[in-house]
Symmetry: C2
Subunit: 125 residues, 2 copies
């Protein structure tokens, strides 16, 4: 046995950054034609078609013919397993998250009070 095959499960399908890019694109622009993805990613068309093939096989995207184009749409629910998996560990980041959120809010307040400059590192002399 070798590897789990990118077309076998979602985790392998999203391992390739190009495919994540495609997913990102499709999450913003609902329904994209291959050509658009090609120019957006700057990859050769066959490469894009292959990546789309992988995503299709796993069910992350689906196609509909439309004239001579293929319109790809995202099936976000297929990403749930990943979400559910990492969410298991969310607890561990929650405190950090809270702190980050607090900081962000503090920053927003500070900026609202005195806009014009983003505050820098830390160094409180």
């Amino acid at each position: 046995m070798a590897r789990s095959s990118a077309t076998s499960d979602v985790f392998n399908a999203i391992a390739a950054p190009q495919r994540r890019q495609i997913i990102d694109l499709l999450s913003k622009e609902r329904g994209l034609v291959v050509g658009t993805i090609v120019v957006a990613l700057g990859l050769p068309q066959p490469a894009v078609s292959k990546h789309l093939g992988v995503l299709r096989k796993v069910g992350i995207v689906s196609v509909t013919k439309q004239g001579q184009h293929r319109v790809y749409v995202l099936n976000l629910d297929r990403l749930r397993p990943i979400y559910d998996w990492v969410k298991t560990f969310e607890r561990h980041w929650e405190h950090q998250l809270d702190r980050i959120k607090e900081r962000a809010e503090a920053r927003a307040l500070a900026q609202a009070a005195a806009p014009g400059k983003t505050n820098r590192k830390k160094g409180t002399p």
Copy 2:
């Protein structure tokens, strides 16, 4: 050029289910010795060592010698990129999420009120 190499980034590192299992284990039991993981996964020891090697190289786990054992611990922050990525799509699942959160809060309250037993499903009549 072939693939991005499992040892190159976190997304590839977690593509293998065995490695996700290891992560799951380490998230429950903080600090595990290789032998424990071996019996838990039912994989041959060299295989486990290799998977641990991948996780180590990506920074998901770190080792400390302890006598003749190696204790592996999880560095959960390294999984953040994955979390952050899927979280982008959370919006699409929000309704479901709200319900989950509500349940979690209800559970927390119930537990605060009467600790000692985790409540089971829900059943919304």
